[in-house]
Symmetry: C2
Subunit: 452 residues, 2 copies
Amino acid sequence: MKKILLLSLLAPILAFSQHEEQIKEIYNEALTKGRAYEDLRVLCKEIGSRLSGSPEAAAAVEYTKQLMESYGFDTVYLQPVMVPHWVRGKKEIVRAINSDKHGIIDFNALALGNSVGTGPEGVLSEVIEVSGIDEVNELGKKVEGKIVFYNGEMDPTIINTFGAYGGAVVQRSSGASEAAKYGAKAIIIRSVTNRQDDIPHTGSLRYKALINQIPAVAISTNDANKLSQILKEQKLNVYIETHCQQLPDVLSYNVIGELRGSEFPDEIVAVGGHLDSWDVGEGAHDDGSGCIQAIEALRLFKALGIQPKRTLRAVMWMNEENGLRGGTEYARVAKQKGEKHIAALESDSGGFQPLGFSTSGSEEQRAQIRAWRDYFLPYRLWDFDQNGGGADIGPLRSHGTLLIGLRPSTQKYFIYHHTPADVFEAVDRRELELGAASMSAMMYLLDREGLK
Amino acid sequence: MKKILLLSLLAPILAFSQHEEQIKEIYNEALTKGRAYEDLRVLCKEIGSRLSGSPEAAAAVEYTKQLMESYGFDTVYLQPVMVPHWVRGKKEIVRAINSDKHGIIDFNALALGNSVGTGPEGVLSEVIEVSGIDEVNELGKKVEGKIVFYNGEMDPTIINTFGAYGGAVVQRSSGASEAAKYGAKAIIIRSVTNRQDDIPHTGSLRYKALINQIPAVAISTNDANKLSQILKEQKLNVYIETHCQQLPDVLSYNVIGELRGSEFPDEIVAVGGHLDSWDVGEGAHDDGSGCIQAIEALRLFKALGIQPKRTLRAVMWMNEENGLRGGTEYARVAKQKGEKHIAALESDSGGFQPLGFSTSGSEEQRAQIRAWRDYFLPYRLWDFDQNGGGADIGPLRSHGTLLIGLRPSTQKYFIYHHTPADVFEAVDRRELELGAASMSAMMYLLDREGLK
């Protein structure tokens, strides 16, 4: 009896040291024989940007499916989902036509995703600057017939840049309908970034029902400063021409690869990112990194011969950027099939150095993850306190699934976000590998310990 | 009496909240009206690389002096110090002359700092590969007349890359004399980096007394892999030609700027980096960032109207890279003058996102700094446990001074270290600013609380 008691007292310590050792092997493998960097290179350089409904998105579906098959995952399959098919069309024109000092100015611009186009006739009108939606509501009918220029900035004093993003992005997502309510003809927004440069940032908007849908473009922060300066000096007319269109929905897929659990195959731990990206750049940080890290997280189990007890699933969700159709459909099908997801992990904050995991779940569930912090401190992940999961896994929360988000450094994310600059070269090899290993290690703990 | 007791109980809480508020202002100022980024641009782009003894090093002395004067520091002065004057001379040649498969190969190479040149006649000999100094000692006289190729790698599984660097750098610093002991004619080393690429990394070597001084070069990691592969297949002769020389010592300076303390002017808190850099690249991360952060740390006091109680001193040390003369002289003079440095801070690990502070001092001193961690957690600095200060402040330790090192993320440092790639564009604005604000906030706490 004493011996049994002693063993039961020792068990957690032995388990800790066994887990510690296995996790070290996971990181070592990722950092010495990792495949994530090369796999991301192919996704970025041979396929490139992959907006939902595009041929490149279809190519990315096929590529990641074949990749998971080549790694010998037990099951790899496609989950059909209808997605929006928005196309940018011909290059945007956003042109100041009567500036006294500078003559004609062509601003660096990108139409916002989902926005209607002006068509070849364009929109020409006087510009009125506002700091945000509140000011539009104050101005009311004074914006009628005008182009509203939202010049709200990301607050640089918020250390977590996603917090600053959250404060500024509303002008992008809702600004068009809010201005259209009062008869505005179009909107221009200051790109949602904390960087001062010449690169415009796209991203999606949502039109409100029953309100006139007006064209919307983003200009670079340098151009926003210039436009604002001119407006202090004179009345300015701007010409906007965009050729974007919302085409009929297209059949696309979530891509799913599984390692089947040996003891509790019905308990699923999912890990993933979103496979679609904006149509500029290469979707390297957003979110090629997350997809490739998810595949690598499972590949590391295979490479190290770790037989999972539970079913581990890597998922490349489609259409996070302008619809969330993939994440929504995935949760719907899971419910329909009666699948039990004990936890879902997402990496969708870029391939930067991982600093921790955020969680969304019951207090008990969240405490269990926080208690695993000591396993990750040697790898410099320390922040396990933040609330949150990820957009694509969000719909699983109502099933009682614990959501876990990888939290890398946020300082540089909004340099690249939704821009032509989000390319493979912007991702650091070691940082990407550390993220993949961290996801894999978290899955390993969930697999071995389950959720209490 | 009760009121006094209550006040004395509340005092630490009130102090905490007052400090918290002041620190928030420091970060806000750095992130919204910071000057570090523009100042670093000038140092990198208008002056550039600045090896000790070079005209550019003299320009950097003048620039940082004028900069601190322009910010209105109470005293700005130069501290004379004689420094080595090593020059690279004409571009290096490291050429495989009889490779069967590739014919003549020119490797991407840089002579190691302080190394003697081959002169125009060059060195031509067979190459013998070793993994490190141990193997040279095993081979002994077998290396006589040969070129020894040290191909030791940085261990990618060590998460703190400075640890991996420490393990690999000995072949650079001591490899030449260790091979010369047995009659080797020259050495080639694999560049000390964890990145696979075509960029050679320079850095200093030390010749041992009474041993023949032989030429030493570094080649890129891709080239080291190629060379190693060829050596598995055939005997290979390599021709090395370098034109570096150690010229007579030159008069240079540490650059010092002060804010005088109002209550305890004789207690000094120093903060700095080293002003010299290697003669390739722009010394942006190593260590332009540290110098500019130190100046910014003091400027933030001025900008916010914080009157220091103690004397705060920004120091740009000269000649860290190939002699440490500046740091040594600074400590000597401090001792001679009877100056009391309560603490010295250094930033010399790149302008990356700050993650904490390391310390070197008594257990009591170190505990005091660790106890301040809560002030920094909102800014994502969490690691206060590491041991260590910095090279330039090292000589102050024997005075009883507490040494404090800023610890930024280490993942990307050795991509740039001692290479042509260490340029301004490799430094991120927010990360640089966060580091400057962190240094300033640490100085603020030292200024207000002193050292117990």
